[in-house]
Amino acid sequence: MSRVHDMGGRFGDGSVSPDAEDAPVFAEDWQARALALTLAAGGLGQWNLDISRHAREQLSPKDYSRLSYYEKWLAALADLLVKRGVLTLEELGKTQGAGRSPLAEKTLTKDRVPSVLSSGGPVDRRGPSPRFKLGDKVSTRHPAANVYVAGGHTRLPSYASGQMGTIIAHHGCHVFPDSNAHDLGENPQPIYAVAFNAADLWGKGNVQGGDEVILDLWEPYLEAVDD
C-alpha cells in the first residue's frame, strides 16, 4: 500500500550529516542545472506541483532509494515530459528533438524568470466551510491511501494514519493534492494544523512526555471523534 517516499518514522537510515552553514548551495554544477531545468519545464504548464511530486513518488522503490535527490528530479522530469506528450520516447532515446514544439510559445525566457519565481503559485482557494474548530479531536484516515486512484498521491503520511489528534489551526481552503495530482481538478478543501502526541505515534517509552508532531491535513483525511 505504501510507497518508499513515505518514510517518516522508518528505522535504519543512520545518522544525519549536517552540512556546514556556508556549504555551496549546489555541490555540483549539474545539480543546479537539474533544478533550473525542472522549474523551467514546469513553466510550460503541462503539469502542476502535485503531478510533479507524484512523478517522483512513482519511481520504482529501487530507483527512489538509489538515486540522489536531483537524480530523482531528473528521472521524474524525463518521465513527465514523455507521459504528458511534451517529448516522445524516441526523442528522449536519441537525444534529438524532432522539430519545434507547439508549446514553444510558453517557453520561460530569461527576462520572465524574476517575475515567475517571485510570483509563486499560491494554493489557497474559496472552498467549503470548515467542519472542525480549534480544539476538536479528530482521527485520521486509515489506511493513508488516495481514494480516487489506487496507489495515487496523498499527503497523509502512513505514520500519522489511523491516529487521534487535535485541531490547533485552520489555514482556510487549499487545493487538494489527492485530486489535483491526477487531473481531477483542484477540489479545494479546508486544511488544518493537527497536533499529535508523539507518545501516541511512537509509543510512550520512546519519547519524552509533552513532545508533539504537527501536520497540515486536509479535511477529507479527518473524521470527528466524540470526547
Binding site: 518514510m7 519511481l59 528522449l92 530569461k110 520572465r112 519565481l117 494554493v123 503520511p157 500519522a160
Partner: protein, 202 residues
C-alpha cells in the same frame, strides 16, 4: 536495455551530468528551454535568495514588537513587505521557540522548505535519515547537530505535509540587548531557523 514504459527516464544515460545535458539539448532543440533562463534561475538561488533573508526576519522580530505581532497575525503578509515572497513560500507560518517549547521543521514526504526565506534546502534536510527520524526521535537528531534541549522543554516537530512553509523563530540570545538589528541578524544561522540549531552567542 529494455524500455520500461512506466519509466521513460531509463532510456537516458545513467550518469547524471549527461542526463541533464541530454534533456537540456532536446528541450532546447524543440524551443522549450531558454538556456539563459536556466542561468538566471541558478543565479537567483545560488546568489540572491538564501538564509540571509530569514535572518533579517528573525532579527527584526527580535527588535520590533510591531513586526513580531504582524508575523503572528499573518506571516506571509509580514515577510512579503520585506520583499520575501515567491515560489515555495506562498503560505508562511512562523513558529516561536520559548523556554517551554522547541520547534523543528521537516518534510517527511519530500523536501518542502521556505525558499524565499531560506533558499534551497541543504542536503541533510533532504536526506532519508533526517526525513525518517526527525518525527520519531527529534532529540536524537538534535544531538547530531550538537543541540541539547533542557529537560523541561517540549519538542514540536512540524511535518510540512502541505503548502504551509514554516520558519522557526529562535529565542533571542542573552546579552544581545544593545545589538542593532544588523548585528542580531549575524547571529541567526540557517539551522536555527529550521530548528536544528540555536543562534550564535554574541
Amino acid at each position: 536495455m529494455p524500455h520500461d514504459h512506466d519509466h521513460p527516464h531509463t532510456v537516458l544515460p545513467p550518469e547524471p551530468a549527461l542526463r541533464v545535458k541530454a534533456l537540456e539539448t532536446i528541450l532546447t532543440q524543440k524551443g522549450l528551454i531558454d538556456p539563459a533562463a536556466l542561468d538566471e534561475i541558478i543565479d537567483t538561488y545560488q546568489n540572491k535568495i538564501g538564509p540571509k533573508n530569514g535572518a533579517r526576519v528573525v532579527a527584526k522580530a527580535w527588535s520590533d514588537p510591531t513586526f513580531l505581532q504582524a508575523l503572528r497575525d499573518d506571516a506571509t503578509a509580514a515577510v512579503s513587505e520585506l520583499g520575501y515572497y515567491g515560489r515555495q513560500g506562498e503560505h508562511i507560518k512562523v513558529v516561536e521557540n520559548t523556554p517551554d517549547i522547541h520547534n523543528m521543521v521537516v518534510c517527511t514526504l519530500c523536501s518542502c522548505y521556505p525558499w524565499p526565506l531560506l533558499g534551497i534546502p541543504p542536503a541533510w534536510y533532504k536526506s532519508d535519515a533526517y526525513r525518517s527520524r526527525a518525527v520519531r526521535e527529534p532529540r536524537a537528531v538534535l544531538a547530531e547537530f550538537g543541540v541539547t534541549l533542557s529537560a523541561d522543554q517540549s519538542v514540536r516537530v512540524w511535518d510540512s505535509t502541505a503548502e504551509m512553509r514554516y520558519l522557526v523563530l529562535p529565542m533571542r540570545p542573552a546579552g544581545t540587548e544593545d545589538l542593532s538589528e544588523e548585528a542580531l541578524a549575524e547571529l541567526v544561522t540557517r539551522d536555527s531557523m529550521v530548528g536544528t540549531g540555536l543562534p550564535k552567542k554574541p
